[in-house]
Symmetry: C2
Subunit: 149 residues, 2 copies
DNA sequence: AAATGTTTGTCAACTGAGTTGACGAATCGT
DNA sequence: ACGATTCGTCAACTCAGTTGACAAACATTT
């Protein structure tokens, strides 16, 4: 018996408007004042792996190092991160959140967690786990598809 | 007992790279020659509701009517759709896929279905159903969040 | 019939996300 | 010492999508 992928197809289609809505909703949050989703991703990344380099962040967040670098410059100018020289490489830098940056990403995270917690009450742990599992698998699947040829 | 939304949070975060990979993978498909994801969405929409107007498509696809209109012009020039006057409104038009457009969206759909069918074998029907369910609910949830001020 | 509000198509300017290419300086491997 | 790789930076570009404006057509109210 073959699995009919209709549901999956439809769900994947919905990814586009979903992301738009996530972005819009999240940017509307008062806590986000002036922080774009790209910047937010960088702050989150630095929160998880303090002292990361730009290329490391790029790999973790699946973005090009040049783009990461540009965002790092923006948030540095905004005083949300600071960079220090990398003793192991004269041209390389490591990045850390400043207290201000730390406060902002923490507030954003708390706000979003709260909203998601509300949402998640409508679902069973099994459903949420399945969502997580399939989402990550899809990510890997399409990343591979995109790479071949 | 509260649901810990950590998994959900992480999955939602993954939406951004996921969409990028989907787009890249799908545009790499030889069948897509010259068809952007936006155009593809319009073709899909017209396939589901033939004779739709631009504002109707916009509502269905959750895009602004102006943007839909621009894409409609593109695919019309490419000969994938045709428009006819709307007898009920002198300024309005209805849109239909041409045989060429029909062939293209059918081929795209078949190709993607095939790939997704392969992928979906790794999951139980319950997991796929849960993914679908949560994905659509998230869409509605964030669409609402984005709307309220 | 006239005034007012809404819908439609179209044009234009803009933002945001992200990629790609290039270049020089630094580092690594051999 | 030499070639390949890595890192930072600048620049140009694409793509998706929004917003604003304007005029024509239509609907509604008075």
């Amino acid at each position: 018996m073959t699995h009919e992928p209709d549901q999956l197809y439809q769900a994947v289609q919905a990814t586009r408007p979903l992301l738009r809505h996530i972005t819009a909703a999240v940017e509307r949050g008062s806590l986000r004042a002036g922080v774009t989703v790209g910047q937010r991703a960088i702050l989150e990344g630095l929160s998880l792996t303090p002292g990361a380099t730009a290329p490391q962040l790029g790999a973790a967040l699946q973005m090009k190092r040049q783009y990461v670098s540009r965002i790092l410059q923006e948030v540095q100018r905004a005083g949300l991160i600071e960079r220090r020289a990398n003793p192991e490489h004269a041209r390389s830098h490591r990045y850390w959140l400043t207290p201000k940056g730390e406060a902002i990403i923490t507030a954003i995270r708390a706000d979003e967690m709260e909203k998601l917690a509300l949402f998640s009450e409508a679902f069973s742990p099994a459903e949420l786990a399945a969502y997580h599992k399939v989402q990550l698998a899809l990510n890997g699947f399409f990343a591979n598809l995109a790479k071949e040829v």
